[in-house]
Symmetry: C2
């Protein structure tokens, strides 16, 4: 199968997801050594989970199947350019490449405006729509101190 074939598979998942009333019009697959090792579709509304985007689902599914928390040597094919959440998830999963079909501009025309979140990331806390405030605490460093001292910690 070619890159185009795998991308078409991700697109078809997205179409079927809408037809089956399972969620938004997004699909993604993870491929390793020419085989599909994970797939995901948008399930935000049906699973009451705002994190259930196609890429997040595909990454979780592939990691479960590969029994590892990294997607080394994997390629992700997604029907649409990732939003910032999925972009971050991709970086934590560390696949070797991502192919996407639609751009975020095309998604915006269908009512899915990720650009808003990209814009919010680039501005200061005071200007953001969802306020994020630092609240110091005497214990704030204790999680990291406990981590550094733990001989059993598993780095990731």
């Amino acid at each position: 199968m070619t890159h185009q074939d795998f991308l078409q598979k991700a697109i078809q998942l997205a179409v079927d997801n809408v037809k089956n009333n399972q969620g938004g019009p997004f699909g993604a697959i993870v491929v390793k050594d020419g085989e599909i090792v994970g797939q995901g579709v948008n399930r935000v509304t049906t699973h009451n989970d705002p994190t259930a985007h196609a890429e997040i689902g595909a990454i979780r599914d592939a990691c479960k199947n590969l029994q590892h928390f990294q997607l080394e040597d994997c390629i992700i094919y997604t029907s649409c350019e990732p939003c910032p959440m999925c972009f971050g998830a991709i970086y934590w999963a560390r696949p070797k490449k991502v192919y996407f079909a639609c751009t975020k501009q095309e998604a915006a025309k269908a009512g899915f405006d990720d650009q808003f979140i990209y814009d919010e990331l680039a501005i200061s806390y005071e200007q953001r729509k969802i306020k994020m405030e630092r609240l110091s605490s005497p214990e704030k460093l204790s999680p990291f101190q406990t981590w550094m001292k733990s001989s059993e910690r598993v780095e990731y």
Copy 2:
């Protein structure tokens, strides 16, 4: 309970998570009307899930408990400033505010460098460490077209 009390609870979850060898040193809780409605800790290595950050877990738990895909009127308390993935998840969940204890600079000193992903978000595709390539497809718009035509779609 005060904001400080809730933040302390998130920090304690993070400490306990390390002591119990369940994952990284991060904890988060979701509060609505003064009550804790969800909580999460880092489970990346124990669940083989690179998306299992504390905030993602807390958001998923709260949404499951509230049976909704939005966290209206909720406050998230997290032991550390959110990474870009969790930042995106927070925007999709739409709580009214986020309080965090440690900054991303303090996290970096303990070996958790989210700044790298923030930097990658700000540069062009060609310059990024994980290559993301647009691959067009004749069918690329069909998910959105199917969505726009669907009378049963649930917006989110």
